[in-house]
Symmetry: C2
Subunit: 285 residues, 2 copies
């Protein structure tokens, strides 16, 4: 290895990892080493720039906590998260979109028709639709797990003194695969920009706003679950979301509430508006 140079070092590093021939780990690692080294050679990276990159990662580590994961945020603003969502979307299924940092895996189970907003201020909206498979058949019993920001763009989990399970609900689709509940329209909010990723955004003259959205995790027995977001037509940032979460197929239309059109659901609260959004799951592996 004493004879390595800037061209042969890449193979030397790959060989130093004695990983299982043909394994996924070997493939991921070797491709990573190739890209890292190609990047370094193509840019003729200086020592100062190299140290800047490493200090940036160090600073991301320092500001991170279990509730504030700066590396996920970095992945988000570089479109890495969105790209992973895109390539993992199955044909015919609803497109995936950002999980984000606020998911809780033990959201309270709620009956269909429940209201998630309670006394909160905002535009009350009925969210309804059908969970189907890729052949168009409804999936009775599908689980619709949702979470969202409030009418000022804040998640209850972000504010002291609030119940972190507020504005969350886990619903079971009825025998026609239908889900329905009321909530308030969430508002846009900024991703955290007081850390290294915020500095990066400012250096690139980028804003930190997310288009307003509802988060969904949908799953059903024997089907491949999806994590996605639903956005609203004609709302702010829907064309320049800071984390590249919006897809045309994920934009829902807000309409005035009409019971007849909605399907005459039994609702806990009378809504002002409604959106209709169907989810499609592909078969599991």
């Amino acid at each position: 290895m004493r004879d390595i140079n800037q061209f042969t070092i890449t193979e030397a590093v790959k060989k130093s990892f004695r990983t299982e021939e043909g394994s996924r780990f070997k493939f991921l690692l070797e491709s990573l080493i190739d890209h890292l080294h190609d990047y370094t050679r193509e840019t003729n990276l200086t020592h100062e720039e190299w140290m800047r990159v490493l200090m940036f990662l160090y600073d991301c580590g320092k500001i991170s906590t279990p509730e504030r994961h700066e590396f996920i945020l970095l992945s988000d603003v570089l479109g890495f998260s969105a790209l992973v969502d895109m390539i993992n979307t199955r044909g015919g299924a609803t497109e995936g979109s950002n999980l984000g940092p606020f998911y809780l895996d033990n959201a309270p189970r709620k009956p269909l028709g429940a209201d998630l907003a309670g006394p909160r201020q905002g535009v009350s909206v009925l969210c309804h639709g059908v969970v189907r498979d890729t052949l168009g058949h409804p999936i009775p019993g599908a689980i619709v797990d949702t979470w969202q920001a409030d009418g000022s763009g804040t998640y209850p989990i972000q504010e002291e003194g609030q119940d972190k399970y507020d504005l969350r609900g886990l619903f079971e689709a009825d025998d026609q695969g239908r889900y329905y509940y009321t909530t308030i329209l969430p508002k846009p909010y900024t991703v955290p920009y007081d850390g290294p990723v915020g500095e990066l955004l400012r250096a690139g003259d980028r804003h930190s706003w997310r288009a307003s959205h509802l988060h969904y995790m949908i799953r059903a027995e024997g089907m491949r679950g999806i994590v996605t977001e639903v956005f609203f037509e004609n709302t702010e940032y829907v064309d320049n979301d800071a984390v590249f979460g919006v897809r045309r197929s994920l934009i829902a239309k807000l309409e005035p509430y009409k019971a007849a059109k909605a399907g005459d659901f039994p609702l806990e609260r009378q809504p002002d508006a409604m959106i209709n959004f169907d989810f499609v799951l592909a078969p599991g592996d």
Copy 2:
């Protein structure tokens, strides 16, 4: 941006950064986004793998301190540091090698001929040579800043109760460009392997040993300074150093000490062995 897909997202992310046209920042950032996205597409990275990568970075951040920089270590074991050293070596100059984590910018100034080892156990060795420019002319007054591990592979800075300035010295070359001092031979040591990078090494069935070496930072008025390491022929790990620091041109030969051959220097301590290593600096920018 609502129409982005897994192929068009890369341009969309690049465009979102409104960086100065033709700037170095724009070039570095866009090339990074290209490689990151190409990697993701080429590997069809799953959500689980994506999260694994982000948690790995998170864990590197958590174990890092100003004294334990896990991202530099990661850069080292992936050959990223060595590659940056290689591409920044100027033609004709001594090849660069790892700075490592133990450099101190205020090492004690010592007179030529001084001994760095004091009462420490080990093989006493004379280190001597000439600092030259790329035309072969000696550089009187060149600064030779050196630091090293002891005879058991430990840097004094790593052990409580030891003087962190031990086994360090900053020498000024004489009017013939010569430097000379005695010390003890350092031993091989392992890079820290109790963190995420250690896990990576184990996953790749790699050892964590560095070939024994002396660190040098050489500088002189009007010249481009270098950071490098000097290794020893026929010592352990010189052909499979964990951080890819060894180059053939940086391997010195250990010989029995002979005053006449060395140059008959005035020495504070009579050495057992000697190495002769000349440094070459290229002109500054």
